[in-house]
C-alpha cells in the first residue's frame, strides 16, 4: 500500500505521521551532507521510519527504509566506510519517500523542490498565512506538501514554513507568482540540496544558550501529554480508592508495595508535567527580529534585550502568551519609545531600549517588559477618569498608580491620540488582560512620565523542582528551599537569649530574632522545639525553632489553586516520598520582622519610599502609652549601661554612654516629656541617628514594629498643642491603641540647638525667585527660613504636602524651587514629589527632599524617587547652595 491510499482514523494521526516523517527525512538528508555524517542519528531515523511505515502497511516504504537501514548499519562491521555511493543511496531514498508522501505515482522518482517561506515577525497569525500559501500553490501544483503539516498550522507561530513542491517546469517562477497573493510573506527562497539547508523555525541564535534537548527527542503533541496526565491521574485516584477500602487489612509487605506503586505513579506524573515545560526562549527568540521589523517600519531605533529565557513555562500557557506579548511589544515600540530626534532632544540615547526579563518566584513565572520611552501620562488618565465619570475629582487626584492602572485596561482607553499604522488606536490592553485572566495570570503596570513604562506579567507556574530542607513543626511538615537555609543547630547549642524583648540568638554580635515555627503558624499549638534553623531570604533573616529536622530532599512544589491569595506565606505544597504533604513556605512572608540590624537597605525599602508608608518602632516609657519612632532612625537597642554625667549638661540629659567607643548623649525622655520618671533608670537604651547626629534615649520597653500609612497620622487637636509640643501626631492602631509620634527634631533642637548658620557666600537671588516649603515641624520651618533668608527669596511655607499641592493645582502658581520634608502626615514627601513629577505641568519644578533620615543611602535613591536633590537635616549652607544651584540650572523657558 502507498501513503496516499491509507484510510486514517483521524486527521491528527496523519498530521503526526507527516510531522515525524519530515523531521526524520530531514535528519537523514542533512546528515548525509555533513562531514563526518552523524551515522547513529541517521541509523535511528531510518529505523524509526521503517517502524512507523510498517505499522501502516506501507510496503514499498518499508522496503526502502530497510535497505537504507542495513546499508548504514555499521554494528559488527569493522571495515564499514562512508562512501559517495552510500551518500547517494541516502539521498535517493529520502527523495523517494518524500515523493510518496506527496502522492506522486510509484515510478515518479523526481525529487521535490524545497521552498522556505519566511513570514514577517510582526504578523499575528503566521499559521494562517502558511495555510494560504499552501492552498495557493497546491491548487496549481498538486502533490505540494507543507511542513508543518496543514493540520498543525492552527497552533503554529513560527517564522519559517516549508513547501515541498513537485519539480515541474519553471517551478520557481510559478511558485513566486502563486505566492504573490499572500500577505506578510517576507521572503520565498528555493533551497537546493547543494546549499547548506537552513533549519526550520529557527532564527539565528547562540546554540549554546539552548538547553540540550536535541539528542534523542521525540515529537509529541500537547494533547497526547494531556491524555497521559489524565490517565495517571485516574490511576492515582483508583489507588486512593483501593487504599481506602483495603487499607487496614493490608499486611506491611503488601502495604509497602502499595506505597511503591503510588510513588511510581506520582513520579510518572511529575515527569509528564516536566515534559510540558519549555524554556521561554522558545518565544523570546522571535522577538528581536520582530522588534527590528517594527522599528524599521516606524523609522525609530529600538533595541530589544532579553534575559531569563531559560525560565521554563508550561507549553500550553506559552502558546497563548505569544500574541499578548507581541502586542505589548508593539505598543512599547509604537507608543512608548520616542522618535530618535525626540529622544536626542530629551537627552536620551538615540536608540530606545526594550527589555524583556523572565524569572520564577513564589509559585509564579514573572515576565517584565520595560521600555525607556515616554511613559504614561497619568495626569491625562486622571483627567479622563474624571471626564468619563469613572472617578470623582477628588478620587482622581488622590488615586495612586495602582488604582489608576486598572483604568488602562478598560476597553477603548488610550492615552495617545494618534492613530498609527501598526496598533490601530492603541486599543488592546483589555484584550491582553482578558487573555491573562483566562489562564489565571495577572498584569500590572508601572510608569514614570518621561522615563518609561514597565509591564509586569505574572503567570501560574505548574510546578517547580527544588531541593528543600524538611522539618516538623507541631503537626505540620514544612519545607524550606535550601537556598534560604543558612544553618541548623540544636537548641541547646544555639544559645537563645533575650534582647529587644524577644528571644534572640547572636549572629556576629547582632541579635537575630528567634521565632518558634509552630507558633508562627498557630500560636495555640502546643509544641516542643529541639532545633534552630537560621533562614535568610533577601533582607529577611531569622532563626526558627522547630521540632524535628527530617533532612534534605528534592521535592516538586505545586501551587494550590484557590489558596494563593489567602496564604501568601505558602509557596505551594509538595508530596513527599512517604506520603506526607509538606508545606513549602516563603520565608519573606512568613517571618514578621523585616529588618535585620545594621544592614544597608535594599530594594524592599523602595516599596516603602513613595508608598506613603513607614515602619514604626513602638516603645513604651512608662504606663501604657505607646510611642513611635521611624524605624530607619533607630540604630539599635541595648540594655542600659553606665551613664556618665557631664558637668553643665542640659537638664534633660542624663549624661553620656560609650557604645563601641563612641560617646553618645543620653536624653531622658521622661523629663523632656514631663512624665513621671521611673524609680530606677530605664532598662533599655534606644540609639537613634538623624540630623547627622547620634544619640540615645532611655526607654522602658521596645515592643515591636508596625507598618503605618502616613495618611493615618492625625495631627493633635489645637487645644493640646502647647502642652505636647514634642508630639507630631497620633496614630490609632487597631490593636496597639494610640501611638504618639514624637518630634525628635524639636527635642534635639531644644537640647542642643544647632550651630549658628555660617554666612553663606552666595549671591542673593532676589524676591522674584519663589521657594515653597512643606514641613510639619514649626521648628524646621523656622530653620529653613533662616537658612534661606540671606538669599532674599520669597518663601511660602505649608504645614503639609497636601496644602502645598492644593496651592500648586488650585492657584496654578509655579514656585521656582520646592523643598519638602519627608515625614509629614497625610502625604509624605516622596508622594508629593512623585505627584509633582508625574504631571507634565509641574514636572519641571526642581524638588529638594529635606530629610532627617540618615543620608547614607538617600543620594542613590534620589533619582528613583523623583527628587532633584536630597539633603539631610540640618545643613543650612548646603541647603542654600542647593537652592541656588537648582535655580541656576533651570532652562530659561521655564515658567516662573
Amino acid at each position: 500500500m502507498r501513503f496516499d491510499e491509507i484510510r486514517w482514523d483521524s486527521e491528527e494521526e496523519r498530521a503526526l505521521f507527516l510531522e515525524e516523517a519530515f523531521e526524520l527525512l530531514g535528519t537523514l538528508e542533512e546528515g548525509a551532507l555533513k562531514t563526518p555524517p552523524p551515522i547513529e542519528a541517521m541509523f535511528r531515523a531510518a529505523h524509526t521510519l521503517k517502524g512507523s511505515g510498517g505499522m501502516l502497511g506501507l510496503t514499498e516504504w518499508v522496503e526502502r527504509a530497510h535497505r537504507l537501514e542495513d546499508a548504514i548499519d555499521r554494528r559488527g562491521r569493522p571495515d564499514w566506510q562512508w562512501t559517495p555511493e552510500l551518500q547517494q543511496l541516502v539521498l535517493e531514498t529520502v527523495d523517494a519517500l518524500r515523493a510518496e508522501l506527496s502522492g506522486a505515482p510509484a515510478d515518479d522518482r523526481t525529487a521535490l523542490v524545497r521552498f522556505d517561506l519566511r513570514w514577517s515577525a510582526s504578523c499575528p497569525m503566521p499559521g494562517v498565512r502558511a495555510l494560504q500559501a499552501y492552498n495557493a500553490v497546491s491548487a496549481a501544483i498538486p502533490g505540494t506538501m507543507s511542513d508543518p503539516p496543514v493540520d498543525r498550522l492552527g497552533d503554529w507561530h513560527g517564522e519559517v514554513s516549508v513547501l515541498w513542491v513537485p519539480s515541474v517546469a519553471d517551478v520557481e517562477e510559478q511558485v513566486q507568482a502563486l505566492l504573490a497573493v499572500v500577505d506578510d510573506l517576507v521572503e520565498v527562497k528555493r533551497v537546493d540540496r547543494a546549499l547548506e539547508a537552513p533549519h526550520l523555525t529557527e532564527s539565528p541564535t547562540d546554540e549554546s544558550q539552548r538547553p540540550d534537548r536535541r539528542d534523542a527527542t521525540l515529537r509529541i503533541s500537547a494533547d497526547t501529554l494531556e491524555a497521559i496526565m489524565e490517565g495517571i491521574g485516574e490511576l492515582l485516584l483508583d489507588h486512593g480508592q483501593l487504599e481506602h477500602r483495603l487499607g487496614h487489612a493490608l499486611d506491611s509487605a503488601t502495604r509497602s508495595v502499595f506505597e511503591h506503586m503510588r510513588r511510581r505513579a506520582l513520579d510518572l506524573q511529575d515527569l509528564t508535567l516536566r515534559a510540558r515545560m519549555l524554556p521561554l526562549d522558545t518565544l523570546f527568540r522571535q522577538y528581536p527580529r520582530a522588534v527590528h521589523d517594527i522599528a524599521r517600519k516606524l523609522n525609530k531605533k529600538i533595541e530589544l534585550k532579553t534575559q531569563g529565557g531559560d525560565t521554563e513555562l508550561d507549553r500550553v500557557v506559552m502558546d497563548r502568551l505569544h500574541e499578548p506579548l507581541l502586542h505589548l511589544l508593539r505598543n512599547a515600540c509604537d507608543h512608548g519609545i520616542e522618535s530618535p530626534e525626540e529622544r536626542i532632544q530629551l537627552g536620551k540615547p538615540e536608540t530606545g531600549t526594550v527589555r524583556l526579563t523572565a524569572y520564577a518566584a513564589q509559585g509564579h513565572v514573572h515576565i517584565q517588559l520595560e521600555d525607556d520611552g515616554r511613559g504614561i501620562d497619568w495626569q491625562k488618565l486622571r483627567d479622563k477618569a474624571e471626564r468619563e465619570g469613572w472617578m470623582s475629582h477628588d478620587e482622581a487626584e488622590r488615586a495612586r498608580e495602582e488604582e489608576l492602572q486598572d483604568l488602562l485596561f478598560r476597553p477603548g482607553v488610550s492615552t495617545r491620540d494618534q492613530v498609527t499604522d501598526l496598533s490601530g488606536r492603541g486599543v488592546g490592553l483589555d484584550v491582553v488582560r482578558a487573555f491573562l485572566d483566562e489562564i489565571h495570570g495577572a498584569i500590572s503596570v508601572e510608569s514614570r512620565w518621561g522615563q518609561g513604562t514597565t509591564f509586569h506579567i505574572e503567570l501560574p507556574m505548574t510546578m517547580a523542582i527544588v531541593t528543600a530542607l524538611i522539618v516538623e513543626a507541631g503537626p505540620w511538615t514544612v519545607g524550606f528551599p535550601i537556598a534560604t537555609v543558612e544553618r541548623i543547630e540544636s537548641v541547646s547549642v544555639a544559645g537563645v537569649k533575650s534582647a529587644l524583648g524577644h528571644d534572640a540568638v547572636s549572629d556576629r554580635n547582632t541579635p537575630l530574632p528567634v521565632f518558634s515555627l509552630t507558633e508562627l503558624l498557630d500560636p495555640d499549638q502546643p509544641h516542643e522545639d529541639h532545633y534552630v534553623v537560621r533562614v535568610k531570604d533577601g533582607r529577611t533573616q531569622a532563626a526558627l525553632t522547630v521540632g524535628e529536622v527530617t533532612g534534605q530532599q528534592e521535592i516538586v512544589i505545586k501551587p494550590v489553586e484557590g489558596l494563593t491569595g489567602l496564604t501568601p506565606w505558602l509557596s505551594g505544597v509538595a508530596l513527599l516520598g512517604d506520603g506526607r504533604l509538606a508545606l513549602v513556605v516563603d520565608v519573606r512572608r512568613l517571618v514578621p520582622v523585616t529588618r535585620s540590624e545594621g544592614e544597608a537597605l535594599r530594594e524592599d525599602d523602595v516599596i516603602l519610599l513613595g508608598s506613603n508608608q513607614m515602619e514604626l518602632l513602638v516603645f513604651r516609657l512608662n504606663g501604657d502609652q505607646r510611642y513611635g519612632i521611624n524605624v530607619y532612625k533607630t540604630r539599635e537597642v541595648l540594655p542600659a549601661t553606665t551613664v556618665t554625667r557631664v558637668a553643665g549638661q542640659h537638664p534633660w540629659l542624663d549624661g553620656v554612654v560609650y557604645v563601641r567607643g563612641q560617646a553618645l548623649p543620653v536624653i531622658n525622655l521622661y523629663r523632656a516629656l514631663d512624665l513621671d520618671p521611673q524609680a530606677d533608670s530605664a532598662p533599655l537604651l534606644m540609639v537613634a541617628e538623624f540630623n547627622q547626629t547620634v544619640q540615645a534615649f532611655g526607654v522602658y520597653e521596645v515592643e515591636q514594629m508596625v507598618r503605618v500609612g502616613w495618611d493615618a497620622v492625625e495631627t493633635l487637636p489645637d487645644l493640646m498643642e502647647g502642652h505636647n509640643r514634642f508630639v507630631t501626631g497620633l496614630i490609632n492602631h487597631p490593636t496597639l491603641g494610640t501611638i504618639q509620634l514624637l518630634d525628635f527634631e524639636a527635642l534635639l533642637a531644644a537640647v542642643a540647638p544647632p550651630a549658628p548658620e555660617a554666612e553663606p557666600q552666595l549671591p542673593p537671588l532676589g524676591p522674584e525667585v519663589t521657594v515653597w516649603l512643606a514641613d510639619d515641624s514649626a521648628v524646621a520651618r523656622q530653620q529653613v527660613e533662616k537658612a534661606l533668608a540671606s538669599l532674599g527669596v520669597t518663601m511660602r511655607t505649608f504645614r503639609d504636602g497636601t496644602e502645598l499641592l492644593a496651592a500648586v493645582r488650585g492657584e496654578g502658581a509655579r514656585p521656582d524651587v520646592v523643598v519638602l520634608d519627608v515625614e509629614m502626615p497625610k502625604l509624605d514627601g516622596y508622594s508629593v514629589a512623585r505627584q509633582l513629577k508625574e504631571s507634565a505641568e509641574t514636572a519641571a519644578i526642581p524638588i529638594i527632599l529635606h530629610t532627617s533620615l540618615s543620608g547614607k543611602w538617600q543620594a542613590s535613591r534620589a533619582q528613583e524617587i523623583d527628587a532633584d536633590a536630597v539633603i539631610t537635616k540640618f545643613d543650612p549652607g548646603l541647603l542654600a547652595a542647593t537652592v541656588v544651584r537648582l535655580v541656576a540650572a533651570r532652562p530659561l523657558s521655564a515658567v516662573s
Partner: protein
C-alpha cells in the same frame, strides 16, 4: 460592489457599513451565521466580511455552508487576536483571507479589492 457584513455586534456592523459605503460599496448586514447564509443566497454579494463568533451559527460553519453552496464565494474572516486555530479552520472551510481586529480601514478595503469576485 455589494458586500455582506456578518457580525453580531451592531456597533461593528455600523462602523464597517460606514467605511464601505464611503468607499462606494453597497452593504448588506447579517447579525448571525444563519442570517448570513440566508442573505448570501438571496443577494449573492461580491464578498463577505465574516466575524468568527456569532450566535445561531458561527463564522466557520457559516463559511462552510456558503462555500459549499457556491464554490466561487469570497469570504474574508474578521477576527480578534488569538483565534488562529479557528481561522485556519475557516480557510479550510473555504475562506480566502482574514483581517485582524482592531482593523485598520485600509486593510479591509485592500482585502476586498484583492479578493472580491468581479462581475
Amino acid at each position: 460592489m455589494t458586500i455582506l457584513i456578518a457580525d453580531d455586534a451592531a456597533f461593528m456592523r455600523m462602523r464597517l457599513r460606514k467605511l464601505l459605503e464611503e468607499a462606494g460599496h453597497d452593504v448588506i448586514e447579517a447579525a448571525n451565521g444563519r442570517e448570513a447564509v440566508a442573505k448570501y443566497q438571496e443577494h449573492r454579494p461580491h464578498a463577505v466580511l465574516m466575524d468568527i463568533t456569532m450566535p445561531e451559527l458561527d463564522g466557520v460553519a457559516a463559511t462552510r455552508e456558503i462555500c459549499q453552496s457556491d464554490p466561487t464565494a469570497r469570504v474574508i474572516m474578521v477576527s480578534a487576536l488569538g483565534q488562529q486555530a479557528m481561522i485556519v479552520a475557516a480557510i479550510q472551510a473555504g475562506a480566502k483571507d482574514f483581517v485582524v481586529k482592531p482593523y485598520e480601514p485600509e486593510r479591509i478595503l485592500q482585502a476586498i479589492d484583492k479578493w472580491a469576485r468581479v462581475g
